[in-house]
């Protein structure tokens, strides 16, 4: 059904919902009902890492994997465990697929390193002495990392020409965490230059294509990461999200994308775009994979103190005390047979739909999101419509603040100390000018200019300071609603994936971030999962996504809800060139 705003609350009163609901219920009823109490208890304590139930397949044990899981990581881990596959073999398969792929998902791949690392992980697994040791689910799993996340001694260009020679001296905290678990980093994924863009077309190297339709963009800026997951060119990937850069490409590519709460995951090693917004998060093919990665990404190395910065932007008095560090996200993932109430697994939950998000929304996206909302209701949750008058102020406020910070964060790229040092042999001012003029792409230069302008003497009061006020208002409004509701349900994007070269007008491109920037402004976590695909005018099926915005540090709850929605959603179309070894995956 098509949806036309304004919504009349409550949504579930609308006709047509019942059909789906019934259907699902019938399906659900056939499933075994096990461990009801267990579910309740675990769900309630999901974010506090209470003694985790032995029945769940937690991150440290790969021995119990149920057959219905959508988790690619678990499936591979199981094969590795059973000896059916080796890490080397899996890595080789991904590398081969990469070579055959025309999508250009990767900015750089270091085959030798990846293969060597995979072999090393295999040896570790085979080593009888170490065999007793509980191994991580991620051990030997090939993962892709966005090219703005530092990997020691390997190219980290952030999609920019100015960093084409840059190889960091250190691993980002998240990469350190992953390496500790035994992950094989396959390569660095393509992105919009410094994360500035929503199409991956502003990459200084070459654009990435959308796996579902190569004439379309994968979204951005984490377009390479999302496309690589969708096209099965890695088991999972890391992206970064400043104004929607994880969630929008996840929606365009039909993957899962989680933007964690600001400050949840260490930024150390993430090339800064806008410091008070930047977040690292997982892009995966299932909610459970996102949970598995989150368990690792949140680990604390102790050499980062940025993760408590959130207190600066957001009043943290409403937060759970169980906020940081130790919570287990995989504990929030409950398989169907472990659900307490299979007929209404979301019973007791209340979600808000933001009226303003449906203004000017693409009809197909709207229909897709509505289907998901109806599914949520059918699973026992209440969905109400709310109005957030500040919602539409988010876009200008976001762009002023993000670009102001960006203009400052990118000042260090002067071509003197690192990266491409092409213009050292000239007068200082000319040297810096040339490095920046030649090194930055058009979009980055535009944003630096805008950010410089909004911070200039005489202008910063009218722009920067006002935008900060707006940010506070948006935060206040969203958190107020979250005292009543468990989360917001919104479309992840205003439209389906853009055609390549479609949006040449910068402002038009900015408006594409309407659905996502408020989440960054308010520092909240948000999960995007694939909703119903829509056919375009050429009858190509294109995915879109629904965004669930949660409470501050409520990632575990978000993942739990997302996993339930995912389990009860209709099967989505597989990628056209899905693994020939599909039986393995």
């Amino acid at each position: 059904m098509t949806f036309s705003p304004p919504l009349s609350p409550p949504l579930r009163a609308r006709g047509g919902v019942g059909v789906n609901c019934k259907k699902n219920n019938n399906n659900n009823a056939k499933k075994k009902k096990k461990k009801k109490k267990n579910f309740c208890r675990r769900f309630a304590t999901a974010s506090s890492n209470a003694s985790s139930s032995s029945s769940s397949s937690s991150s440290s044990s790969s021995s119990e994997i149920d057959g219905t899981t959508k988790s690619v990581i678990k499936k591979i881990a199981q094969k590795l465990q059973s000896g059916e596959l080796t890490s080397l073999r899996v890595t080789e398969m991904y590398l081969k697929r990469m070579k055959d792929s025309s999508l250009n998902c990767y900015a750089s791949v270091n085959e030798e390193d990846a293969l060597e690392r995979a072999a090393e992980m295999d040896r570790e697994r085979m080593n009888p002495e170490r065999g007793e040791k509980k191994r991580s689910l991620l051990h030997g799993i090939p993962i892709a990392v966005k090219d703005n996340i530092c990997t020691k001694n390997t190219y980290t260009t952030a999609g920019s020409k100015i960093l084409r020679e840059y190889r960091p001296d250190f691993d980002a905290d998240v990469v350190k965490h992953l390496n500790k678990e035994g992950v094989v980093v396959l390569g660095k994924t393509n992105m919009d230059e410094f994360g500035m863009g929503s199409t991956t077309e502003s990459s200084a190297y070459a654009p990435t294509s959308n796996p579902w339709d190569e004439s379309r963009v994968p979204g951005g800026s984490s377009g390479g990461s999302a496309a690589a997951v969708a096209a099965q060119l890695c088991a999972a990937s890391l992206g970064s999200d400043t104004g929607g850069s994880i969630r929008q490409p996840a929606a365009f590519c039909g993957t899962v994308g989680l933007k964690p709460s600001y400050g949840r995951v260490s930024r150390h090693g993430l090339l800064a775009y806008a410091s008070s917004f930047d977040c690292i998060g997982p892009i995966t093919s299932s909610v459970e994979d996102a949970a598995i990665l989150m368990d690792v990404l949140c680990g604390n190395t102790g050499d980062d103190n940025n993760s408590n910065l959130d207190a600066k932007y957001f009043d943290s008095s409403n937060n759970n005390s169980s906020s940081s560090g130790s919570s287990s996200f995989t504990d929030a993932i409950v398989s169907k047979e472990n659900l307490v109430d299979v007929a209404a697994p979301l019973k007791g939950k209340t979600f808000a739909v933001i009226k303003e998000t449906f203004t000017g929304l693409d009809e197909k996206v709207s229909a897709s999101v509505m289907e998901s909302i109806e599914l949520v209701e059918s699973l026992g949750a209440k969905v109400h419509e709310v109005s957030c008058p500040t919602f539409l102020f988010g876009l200008p406020a976001y762009y002023i603040l993000a670009l102001s910070e960006a203009s400052s964060n990118l000042a260090r790229y002067d071509g003197i100390r690192f990266g491409a040092q092409d213009y050292l042999n000239m007068d200082l001012v000319d040297s810096i000018k040339s490095s920046r003029f030649e090194g930055f792409g058009a979009e980055v230069k535009r944003r630096i200019l805008m950010g410089t302008y909004t911070l200039s003497e005489g202008y910063s009061d009218a722009y920067y300071k006002r935008a900060q006020e707006v940010r506070r208002l948006i935060y206040a409004e969203m958190t107020q609603h979250l005292q009543t509701y468990d989360g917001f349900l919104t479309p992840a994007t205003s439209s389906l994936a853009y055609m390549k070269n479609e949006n040449q007008e910068p402002l038009a491109m900015f408006t594409g971030d309407l659905m996502t920037v408020n989440v960054n402004l308010s520092g909240l976590p948000a999960l995007v999962i694939r909703s119903k695909d829509s056919a375009d005018e050429n009858n190509t099926l294109l995915p879109s996504g629904i965004q669930i915005i949660g409470k501050k540090y409520g990632e575990a709850e978000l993942l739990g809800v997302g996993h339930i929605i995912e389990m009860f959603s209709a099967e989505r179309k597989l990628y056209k060139d899905a693994f020939p070894e599909a039986s393995l995956f």
């Binding site: 001296d169 980062d304 940025n306 007068d427 003497e457």
Partner: protein, 594 residues
């Protein structure tokens, strides 16, 4: 870290002017005419900023200008008017015009901490270039600052010592400009919410300037990071003639406290006295080594002069690169004189807003670079750092842990009755203070056993004169390197103060004690130098002298009383200097008058 050890071959010639020129141009005539010094200059900037903002608002942002109240508008026009009034005519300047200077100082104090301000690097002066760096202080992509707690502690200590109010919440800001010594393209500093504000410092004015104390207001003191160092190569080694420049980033990110004073100084000597007292304070606190030569304490002085009575300030000139307090005093006095002279000669327009450097060889200030308009640093809150919260309890705790400060010690010594000169000499060196206090405490523990004798003045006198001279001559680092320890010096002073030996004998035996060490009492006893205080003994000596000099005695008794001195001398000589002078005098007089 191969790629961080960088020598930039970029030519920096004409850097300053070219670079500064890229800053926003504005109508400079007015600025040049009326620049104030120090903090006043800042206020001036702020007003100009406001004005500029409002002008822009009026033309470019109707919404923003709409928020201005009528009152503000009126205030604004009054302000602008006052600035447009040229009151030169009210103050005709001729050769007899009296001028007064306005002087303010900004001092950068390098904090002595285990690490740099925002990373784990250590810093020591003089290390090989680019050996004390890491990705964080090099501003590598993906790195973020982590504030060192020790930096805050030292900053608060100095703030407390300067009687500042410590902000419960202060914040960090980014000050943005491009320069090769600034790795991130911005400096982390504190703009409008500094750690310390509204303090003051008591400064001892040198006697030749009238003596006494002056109170200098401290406007603010804020934390920031240092930049790297450029070494200009080729030409005459300065930025304008060098062929290229080498960048050493060891210093980049080192913690600084920038201390800004009110324009409360009258002359160069006062500035120098302030600088010295500030250095004493930071050294007592062990917050900095305060070394001017190594740049761990750097003073930028703003100087302007105006006719006495005129409200408007003269054009501000910044003077830098003075590597001693002496040079600082001379540089400022030179600059005051230079400016006055130019005004008096009707060449006031030759005084421009610029940075001048002290040329020690020729004893004059010379132009280093001219400022062309005000740079727009685009300050904004540093998004990578939380606001800095220093609770009252924390500040109280820091205060409690602080050592005694120079001013407190001065008051304590004055209460002991020490002469001002001795107090100044003692307080100059923290080791001297400690040594002196140990002498006093050694004496008081002796006093509890024996007779109570106050040796405070005696000890201060000996320490600041003979002992300190010996320390200097022998090039010892501290008085602790003497062969006499505080107990032995206390004993020495006790012997004198208690009348067991005369000061003269003290002076005689001191060189031996200093060379060989050991107990002064033992030496005195061995040499039989104890003072003779038995009147009968002295009478014998006096009698002997009188007997030996009958002629002189005759002359004395017939009225030539000037000969008394001769007899006193003869008696002391006869006793080997051991006779108690007072008693001798008394007995001699009696005998002479007999």
């Amino acid at each position: 870290m191969n790629n961080t050890t960088t020598s930039t071959t970029t030519s920096l010639s004409s850097l300053s002017s070219r670079f500064r020129r890229s800053a926003k141009k504005n109508n400079n005539n007015k600025n040049n005419k009326k620049e104030a010094t120090g903090i006043f200059h800042q206020r001036e900037e702020t007003r100009q900023q406001q004005r500029r903002r409002r002008r822009r608002s009026a033309t470019t942002n109707a919404a923003a200008s709409g928020t201005k109240t009528e009152g503000e508008q009126l205030h604004l026009s009054a302000l602008e008017q006052s600035e447009l009034i040229d009151d030169t005519e009210d103050f005709p300047i001729d050769a007899n015009t009296k001028f007064e200077p306005t002087i303010g100082i900004e001092t950068h104090v390098q904090l002595q901490t285990k690490t740099k301000a925002f990373c784990g690097c250590q810093y020591s002066y003089g290390a090989n270039a680019n050996t004390q760096i890491c990705p964080i202080c090099m501003g590598h992509p993906g790195t973020y600052p982590k504030l060192s707690e020790e930096v805050v502690e030292k900053g608060v200590q100095i703030g407390v010592a300067l009687n500042c109010k410590i902000r419960e919440v202060s914040k960090f800001d980014r000050k943005q400009y491009f320069y090769p010594d600034l790795p991130k393209g911005y400096q982390i500093s504190q703009f409008d919410e500094p750690l310390c504000e509204h303090g003051n410092i008591k400064v001892v004015i040198p006697v030749e300037e009238g003596g006494g104390e002056a109170t200098i207001g401290i406007t603010r003191a804020h934390l920031e990071e240092d930049a790297g160092k450029l070494n200009h190569v080729g030409g005459s080694g300065n930025v304008s003639t060098a062929t290229h420049s080498l960048a050493d980033y060891n210093r980049a990110g080192v913690a600084l406290l920038e201390i800004v004073t009110e324009p409360d100084f009258k002359n160069g000597k006062e500035v120098s006295a302030y600088g010295q007292e500030l250095r004493r304070i930071v050294r007592y606190l062990k917050a900095s080594d305060g070394n001017l030569n190594e740049g761990s304490m750097r003073c930028d002085v703003n100087v302007s002069v105006k006719p006495v009575g005129r409200k408007r300030f003269g054009t501000k000139v910044e003077v830098k690169n003075m590597n001693s307090f002496n040079a600082m005093a001379r540089a400022i006095d030179y600059e005051i004189e230079r400016q006055e002279k130019l005004y008096k000669e009707g060449r006031g327009d030759e005084i421009v807003q610029e940075t001048r450097t002290w040329d020690d060889q020729n004893q004059r200030t010379v132009t280093m670079r001219k400022k062309e308009g005000l740079a727009d640093y685009r300050y904004f809150p540093e998004p990578d750092l939380n606001p800095l919260v220093c609770s009252q309890a924390y500040v109280a705790n820091v205060r409690k842990e602080m050592p005694e400060l120079p001013n407190e010690i001065r008051d304590r010594y004055k209460a002991l009755g020490l002469p001002n000169g001795d107090v100044q000499v003692l307080v100059e060196d923290e080791n001297l203070v400690r040594f002196y206090d140990e002498i006093l405490s050694a004496n008081s523990s002796r006093s509890s056993e024996e007779k109570e004798v106050n040796i405070s003045k005696q000890a201060a006198n000996w320490l600041t004169n003979d002992l300190l001279a010996f320390v200097k001559n022998e090039k010892l680092a501290t008085p602790y390197d003497l062969k006499l320890n505080p107990e032995e010096i206390a004993e020495f002073c006790f012997l004198i103060e208690n009348g067991e030996i005369s000061g003269k004998i003290g002076k005689d035996i001191l060189p031996e004690l200093l060379l060989d060490g050991g107990s002064p009492r033992k030496l005195v006893e061995e040499k039989g130098l104890m003072q003779i205080s038995d009147p009968k003994e002295i009478e014998k000596i006096v009698q002997k002298v009188l007997d030996m000099n009958p002629n002189q005695l005759e002359q004395y008794r017939s009225g030539k009383t000037k000969l008394k001195g001769f007899f006193v001398g003869a008696c002391l000589r006869e006793s080997g200097g051991r006779a108690n002078p007072t008693l001798t005098d008394e007995i001699l007089m009696r005998k002479l008058e007999e």
